[in-house]
């Protein structure tokens, strides 16, 4: 009886197995499986898990930024459909006819997922004290960049999920103003963890400047970016095999969109201007000739999220706002001289210092449009022209007959939020904030 085979424990196991066979077999665990494809939260609470979570978060966010750069460009005057593909459903975004039931293709889901993954990565990195700490700062900065895109591109009233114990749940609905505040809070956190990494510090600075700019505080914006070098650029890393550049995929490979030229009366001449900052390449996928940005020459072409050029443009706009037109013109011409090879000719006086204030504003945003072409800034710029500078939407956004008629452009100025299945969400607070 001292044998292990007759011990109480062993007898219990035997009885357990026998009962399991007779009742549900659960006692013997014969229904348990070891599924190698399933990874659960406890599996990644390790330093290497934190690193993988960071990589996953960066990848999903970079993909979202790439999609945002294409679709917001379609919404405004950067891209349009080739006439042979446009149809009533697909063209609604290009036509500025968006609604809660037809919210367009802004990658809100992808941004939200990336933001949640970034929060999970930060939480895990802190929990396991993962190094280097600037990884945490970078993730905070990208969370801030995401919220900044929400504030610029979406209506006022954006639901932001909260995360606890690896589980996201529905969070508060934030107005545009609240989103910008949240952005600054996250940038503070980013700055705290970015010590020793100039690139992330510069990223934080440019994003902070952009946030202040969106808030109307151009002086603060200029101050935030004053130390950012002209040569700085933070790019969303894309890959032909894993996270393809969306502009490349949809234009070069599929021929579904093309670069616009003077779209909808107000559109800029991105093609006919033959500006070296917006060079295009004619491609002919599926037998349809479309124009692709030369910057998206392959699926791995990186997307510039923040740069020294943008920092200079923020400073220039701040100078213009305070009437320092010569400083403003100097900054713009300096960019033309030093930020592109070969250098561009300087802006003439009649378009800068001697121009009317309205023309100066137009030149300012034209320069931004060409310098920041296809980087996801244009919709935010158009909103600022309407919201901060008081221009009529129909004088900024594409308008009139869509592709020569018979349909006309609609009146949407921002994307509604595609949050139909959230029982706590009751729609936008303001579609023209």
């Amino acid at each position: 009886m001292n044998s292990i085979f007759w011990s109480r424990k062993a007898s219990g196991r035997f009885a357990s197995c026998a009962m399991g066979l007779l009742i549900a077999a659960a006692g013997c665990n014969i229904t348990s499986v070891q599924d190698p494809a399933i990874v659960q939260p406890p599996d990644v609470i390790t330093p290497s898990g934190a690193a993988s979570l960071r990589v996953g978060a960066l990848s999903s966010l970079f993909g979202a930024f790439s999609a945002q750069s294409l679709y917001t460009g379609l919404f405004v005057d950067e891209f349009t459909f080739p006439p042979t593909i446009a149809n009533s459903f697909a063209a609604s975004e290009d036509e500025r006819r968006l609604s809660a039931s037809n919210p367009g293709n802004f990658p809100f889901n992808q941004f939200s997922g990336g933001r949640i993954n970034a929060i999970l990565a930060i939480t895990t990195a802190k929990q396991v004290a993962a190094q280097p700490t600037w990884h945490i700062g970078e993730l905070y900065a990208l969370i801030a960049a995401t919220e900044l895109e929400f504030a610029e591109d979406l209506c006022s009233g954006v639901p932001i999920a909260v995360v606890q114990n690896f589980t996201p749940s529905y969070g508060p609905t934030l107005s545009t103003h609240q989103l910008l505040d949240q952005t600054l809070t996250d940038l503070d956190s980013a700055a705290k963890y970015s010590t020793g990494n100039d690139s992330i510090a510069n990223l934080v600075a440019v994003l902070r400047g952009r946030t202040y700019s969106d808030s109307g505080d151009l002086a603060a914006a200029s101050a935030a970016v004053q130390n950012v070098p002209l040569g700085f650029a933070y790019t969303a890393e894309l890959s032909d095999t894993t996270n393809q550049n969306v502009i490349y995929r949809l234009i070069v490979l599929n021929g579904e969109e093309t670069v616009s030229d003077r779209e909808g009366i107000n559109g800029l001449p991105f093609v006919s201007a033959a500006d070296p900052r917006v060079t295009t390449v004619a491609v002919q996928p599926n037998g349809i000739t479309v124009l692709a940005p030369a910057s998206a020459s392959n699926g791995s072409a990186p997307l510039i999220l923040a740069s020294g050029i943008e920092a200079q443009l923020l400073s220039a706009e701040a100078a213009l706002a305070t009437g320092q037109t010569s400083v403003w013109a100097t900054i713009l011409n300096n960019l033309r001289q030093n930020a592109i090879t070969p250098s561009m000719s300087a802006l003439t006086l009649d378009s800068t210092t001697s121009a009317s204030p309205s023309m100066q504003l137009a030149v300012m945003f034209r320069e931004r449009a060409f310098w920041l072409f296809a980087t996801g800034h244009r919709l935010g710029d158009m909103r600022r022209l309407v919201r901060r500078y008081g221009l009529a939407a129909n004088s900024v956004y594409p308008t009139g007959l869509y592709m020569g008629g018979p349909a006309t452009y609609g009146s949407s100025v921002v994307y509604p939020v595609a949050e139909q299945d959230d029982p706590n969400y009751h729609g936008c607070l303001n579609l023209n904030p």
Binding site: A24, T31, V39, N117, E237
Partner: protein, 1123 residues
Amino acid sequence: MRGVVCGISVGVILCSGAGAQGPQPLQLASREPAFYAIVGTHIERAEAGSFAALRERLVLRLHNATIPEALTAIQEQTSLRFTYKPSILPAGATVRLDASDITVAAALTQILLDADVDVEIAPYGQATIVARNRVANQRQPSDSIIVRGTITDSSTHGPLAGAVVRVAGGTRSATSGLDGLYSITGLAPGTYRLVVRRLGYLPTSVEVTASIPGVYKRDIALTASPAVLDQVVTTVTGDERLRSIGNNIATIRADSIVPTAPVTSLGDVINARAAGVQVINAGGVTGASPVLYIRGAGSLSQSTQPLVYVDGIRVANSYAGSPTFSGGTAGRFNDVAPEDIESIEVVKGPSAATLYGTDAANGVILITTKRGQGGATRWTVYGEGGALTADAASLPYNYTGWGHAPGTSQEINSCTLDAVAAGSCIQDSVTKFSPLHVGSLTPIGTGNREQAGAQVSGGAKSMRYFISGDYTSETAPLQDPSPDQRTLDSLVGPKIGSGYVQHPNSVGKYDGRLNLTASLGQNADVAISSSYLSQTTQIPVGGAPLFAAGGPGYRDQNDGWGFFGAPETEFSLIPSEETHHFTGAVTSHWTPVSWLTTRATVGLDASSDMFTELQPAEAAPVDGNPGGYVFDQQTTTTLYSVDLGSTARLPLTSWLVSSTSIGAQYHRVNQASTVASATQLSPGATSIAGGLPLGSQSDTQSVVAGVYAQEELALNDRLFLTGAVRVDGANDFGQKFQTATYPKGGVSWLVSRESFFPTWHWLSLWRLRGAYGESGTQPGIVLTTLATGPVTIDGVHQTGVGLASLGNPQVQPERQKEIEAGSDLDLVDSRIHIEFTYYRKRNVNALYNVPLGASLGVGSIEENIGQIQNWGYEALLSAELVSTRSFAWGIALNGSINHNRVVTLGPYFQPIYGQYGNTSVIAGYPLFSMLAQPYSYVDANHNGIIEPNEITVANTPQFVGGTIPGRQLTAATHVDLFDHRVRIGAQFDYRGDFVIPDQFLSSQCFNGTAFGTTSRSASLRQQAACVAYTNYGTNDGIIFDGSFLRFRELSLTLAVPDHVAERLRARSLSLTLSARNLALWTHFPAGDPESAAQTLGFPGSSLYSGGGIPSSQYWLARVNIGL
């Protein structure tokens, strides 16, 4: 000469061949040996030709050989084994025989001529040489009549064992042996009526007149009955009599159907042969598996496919790893070779499938394959060939309005009605065109089918075997008509095979089966079932006629194909699936004591699918792959089955018998898939290595283990009460849900057998039955999980992790509860059989991946959202209206009416309103129904054209119809002529009570090429349909009644007489000419309503969507040879 000349040494056979008038007694030459058959405990005189062993052929070179030497020479070449006492053979006798092709019978007759001996043939090839007339003197009265013959299936002409032949009004009877042979002895001269009965067949009677003593041969063919209550069916607890079960179970005798009907797959065998079973094919896509619904769709998100068991073990019935294109999906359902199947039983719902446990909520299809029958080796060889066509004539044309601008002569080729109404053009004429109707442009051509196979069975009582092998090649009517094909061939032909692209839809397969049955003493046996299939399936990416709807109503530079591109563009993408599928099962029965039977089954079903898709860089670009594209997906699915059961059957009193069954089952499914793809192939590259690669892997495992106990009480063998419970555990029940318990109960009452019931000679049996049962479906993974995947970050290719799904600890398995009640009637000596069944089943825990708000970043969460109900009626009538030897006529009708309704949905489920041909899921309406905003129209300005402002659209969508046929009726008939030597069979298949969105029309409306958008001859209703659709987005005008009646099968089978077959050295020989899908009657305007241009999947596209590849028409010739 054989068969018409008696008594010569060449053969000792009856004289019933050509020129013989009816059965005649045997006449034997006195010097020749007689042959006797040992049948049971009797020894009976017989003709040599009735023994398969004596029909074997051999080569003999005997020169002055002794008789023992001669017998040894025969023994060496045949299955015969001789025993004899040497003393009975004439001493010193020698034999001289030189023959290159002689039957054993003829050889023995020659060798034993004048030897004064006879031959007794026992089963399994034992031959005993005995002294002349010993048998006759001892066993057979010289003045008796012997009636003997073979009992066969009237369809297959194969032998039937176990048939009881009884002399009406007398006591004499016999039971047919494994060779189908029976023999009734000891009759006096006179006229007798023989009544033959066998389970699963209609009873038959024949008359025999025997005027003088002798042996009279009377072969009798039995006709299979779709259902008679005496038959035995397979259940979880073992074989049971149908009469004791409270459920309706449909039985399909595949071995009777396959050799004579135009069926080419398991789906064809089941289709329209069981009430309440909807087999929905993907139009004419060769190699696609059907979707099955048994008693309606009961689940919103889980598979609706029934479980499939072959010889007691579960086999794969999924689409995992299979390509889905052109509305068709290759899958594993049709992997079972129809030729190998003996019978199929359809267990329809939870009330019957309870003991099959979790996952059996959709019913169970039980397949029993053929087993070896003891006796001499029997070969069956068959070959089939024919053509496949498809009806393209009924597919719509595109229309173009031609005109000119007002005040000018400038020609306008898009002068649609809305342009006319707007005054921007004056219409001069309307033309119509479709490349589908032009021989040099259409992708609908002619295909072909070839099949050849052989089966062999035999063995001894201790060991029997069945072996089969089959090769099938089928090419669908789809073709690439483009002359550009030559260009493509020159570029990539040597690597991919030009024939494939020319005919992009085909199947080539080899399959084989080995079944062994061995007796282990008196009380036990063991059976081994194994099969293997190797199949290559090519399913086209495109080719759907729907693509033509994008073209103009004239032949332009794109040959009228328009935006979608001509077929060769689509066909340049080359998908191919290679499948290997092995199934093995070992089943053992042991009866330790007479009242206790036990059963154990262990099985393995393993399939491997290699799906490859290639678009060479040089080929025409498709859908964003200008640099070429290659895709490989390898999926392996392995099912492990263990089934243990025991039944104790004890008479408790003289009137009460108890049957107690317990059992345990274990099922495990492992599925692993590896996906790799590459884009931007280098010129000439056809593999992953030739482009930019991308890969992923998935691995899922599912286990269900359960136990059951069942008690059945039989009261006076007339009233049967059953109660049972099954308890299951599973890996995927959810975090808080460990086991599921499923109860069942049933009652079956043979009312007409009660003493109080009056005796009506026309009523053979009347039964009332009822049953209740539950079954379930386990959810998928309901854990919070993270997904991993390769990404490039920091310039390094590495693994990223992200949140993939949210767990729901409250999730429970789906639970379907079903009650059914019905009645069965056998009338007129069971020649007429009627069944009626009412059922109601409710899924009380319907699962659905409820979409989540996008702000959560994960798409959905599994929830038990509500209830779905199906209820309806099923009826079956089979009747053998006339049954004489020269003429027989039978009919079979089965039909069903099913009502489906989403009863409730949970608070978080948002109703799904389908648009653009998608289905809706809304409480109060059928699952997957079509809803649309109704509209009205009026030609207010009387210009004969409906304009957008002349249409009023209601705000609220209204129900238009369900998308799964709610009504089904099949009518089949057969006529047998000339002693069942000629059989004509036909089947008509009706499906109704469902609607189809006409994708052809919707595409034409968008393109302005519909009749209603172009022609002033179009009715206002036709015009309004397009205007409402394109301007207001309502489907109401483009949804049509999908009901159809199809002439599904027609066959003519000619079975040559036995003596003719024997001249050809065959046991039997038949030729079948058959056709499938001969004709179609429907109001659906876009061709074949059974075609589907879209892929399957819910909630989403409707099952039938029109515009797909029309159902293939098969024109087949088949030869069946028994050796």
